[in-house]
Amino acid sequence: MTPLLEVRDLKKYFKSRAGLLHAVDGVSFTLEKGKTLGVVGESGCGKTTLGRTVLHLIEPTDGQIFFEGKDITRPKKRELRKLREQMQIIFQDPFSSLDPRMTVSEAIMEPLILKGGMSRAAMHAEVRQLMDTVGLATRLENSYPHELDGGRRQRIGIARALALKPKFIVCDEPVSALDVSIQAQVINLMLDLQEERGLAYMFVTHDLSVVKYISNDIMVMYLGQVVEKAPADELFANLRHPYSKALLSAIPIPSIHNRKERILLTGEITSPINPKPGCRFMTRCRYAREECNKPQKLEECAPGHFVSCCCYKEINDLEEVNKA
């Protein structure tokens, strides 16, 4: 069966004053219908750019993108129009993702207007339907975004993305700007929608605990590259890459028992401008060695579990020994 979305060796470089910024550097993945791919990483790892590039909001520098088996890397204008009805995006900031001068119903209706072929009454009905689906009271349809709280705005964003009945949605940190109690409401909504409509999500976030909830597969990114990729359960059970381990251990756990050992990384993210060919995590990795200067490859370490580290086996053994 062809996957819904396949991305091969995708690259996006930006020109900057200091040199070429490798925002996304050779990322590949596949996504099945109705599944969720979690993309995790810290700021500057290229996760947001990846989402935008897949949707052609930014043009890729190199690589290939297939949607339902069709190459859509360089789509023609008309193809792109069709494509965007299938692929949508939900943004991080519920404050800046809505035009402050449009009412709730106008914002949700805009994609319908642009698609055309619907009467005004039909569009209105559709908007009501959508508002109902995402849990917005119909009485809010003439409100402006600034009159609403973050959670409701995010629901508007979701309704707008759903309006064209897409098969695939890029969710760019959709809940990070929300308070926990609201965050949970939105996550549940997204899970319900996925179930009802068979949506595929690419869920971009910096929060590993959120991503575990919602994802089937998880991809950890560091400076534009995928360092580890695996099914969610497998990933959390057997973390391989030293960066993923550090990332997981850095998350404060809301529990006072089962304290885990924390791996503290020294230093901060280095610059993705004109990176050296070797492992990009090397400068912060406590296991760094000579071989790490060579380019790294994603390697299958267990079925479906890929890691991009030349010495993951040795590290694993070393840690086993340490534990014992």
């Binding site: 930006f14 900057s16 200091a18 910024l21 925002a23 700021s43 500057g44 290229g46 020294t266 230093g267 901060e268 993210i269 280095t270 610059s271 993705p272 401008i273 400068t283 912060r284």
Partner: protein, 329 residues
């Protein structure tokens, strides 16, 4: 820093080329024949044609442009059609007057405007602030030539303290400079106030307060210094544009400055004067803006460091993994 200045000076060249071309084209469209203007209405068409030929007015635009540029490069800014003297000589004679007027006016405004602005900003929403800012607004809204006339009427005619025209003595400068300063000082006061209020809203002001600094120190060391950055820009801009805008003041007080010179030239279609005059004033304007930008860069480390990157990079190699994060991304 030197490289920055040189770069800016080089960037100035196309701008000045553009200005001279624009002015030339404008003059080209001007109704009225300069040759006819020079010779008067009685002159015959033949005489006018001969003069046109002699002045090179019949040549196509690119030729005239080239000739003008060639002259400028060689220090020849043309000769006034009216006085038959080199434009550059006449401008140099008049420049000191304009410069004095604008400089004194601006300095006066700075010393008046900045304290008023600070005063108002630090007493925000009190009647003192409202009063200060309302008077500043009135001053900004007043036609300066009208204010100059009122000054003359009162100080020169009514009280007879100061001369109403001419700048032969220092007393002659008082009224024109005062007339100039009114609007400018009010403008500066308004700018200082709004920038101060903007800065006082910033988080780092709260940080400074949380350190236990006195209100004095917070206002002057932290807020004012930051607020002055945009204010310097405004002062520079005002100073520069006054060079061209002082012409009404010059006319009212009979000051033989640049503005008057250009005004006369405009009325007489004395095109070499117009062309070179605008070019020279614009050059000075641009140089003042450049000076302001340099001051700006010296005061603001964020800009300064853009031009001293080379040094930083060396230092970076040593600092262990303290590289800047990917803020650029």
């Amino acid at each position: 820093m030197l490289r920055y200045i040189i770069k800016r000076l080089l960037l100035l060249i196309p701008v000045l080329l553009g200005i001279s071309l624009v002015v030339l084209i404008l003059i080209d469209f001007t109704p009225g024949d300069p040759a006819r203007m020079m010779l008067g209405a009685q002159a015959s068409q033949e005489q006018v044609d001969a003069l046109r030929e002699e002045l090179g007015l019949n040549d196509p635009l690119p030729v005239r442009y080239g000739r003008f540029l060639w002259g400028v490069v060689n220090g020849d800014f043309g000769t006034s059609l009216m006085t038959k003297r080199p434009v550059i000589d006449e401008m140099l004679e008049r420049f000191p007057y304009t410069l004095t007027l604008v400089t004194i006016g601006t300095i006066f405004s700075v010393f008046l405007g900045i304290p008023i602005g600070i005063y108002a900003a630090t007493r925000r929403h009190t009647w003192k602030d409202n009063a200060a800012i309302f008077f500043a607004l009135i001053a900004v809204s007043m036609p300066s030539f009208w204010f100059a006339l009122l000054l003359i009427r009162f100080f020169a005619v009514q009280l007879d303290w100061l001369p109403y025209a001419g700048v032969e003595t220092w007393r002659g400068w008082v009224l024109p400079c005062g007339a100039m300063a009114l609007g400018i000082s009010a403008l500066i006061a308004r700018q200082v106030r709004s920038d101060m209020l903007e800065v006082l809203r910033q988080d780092y002001i709260t940080t400074a307060r949380a350190k236990g600094l006195s209100e004095q120190k917070v206002t002057y060391r932290h807020a004012l210094k930051n607020a002055m950055i945009p204010v310097i820009m405004v002062i520079g801009g005002v100073f520069g544009s006054s060079l061209g805008g002082s012409l009404i003041t010059e006319m009212i007080f009979s000051i033989p400055g640049l503005g008057q010179y250009i005004m006369t030239a405009l009325n007489n279609r004395d095109y070499p004067v117009i062309q070179s005059g605008i070019l020279i004033i614009s050059t000075m304007f641009a140089i003042i803006i450049l000076i302001v930008d340099v001051i700006f860069a010296l005061v603001d480390p964020r800009i300064r460091s853009q031009y001293t990157k080379a040094k930083r990079k060396e230092g970076k190699q040593h600092g262990k993994q303290t590289e800047e994060a990917v803020e650029a991304a």
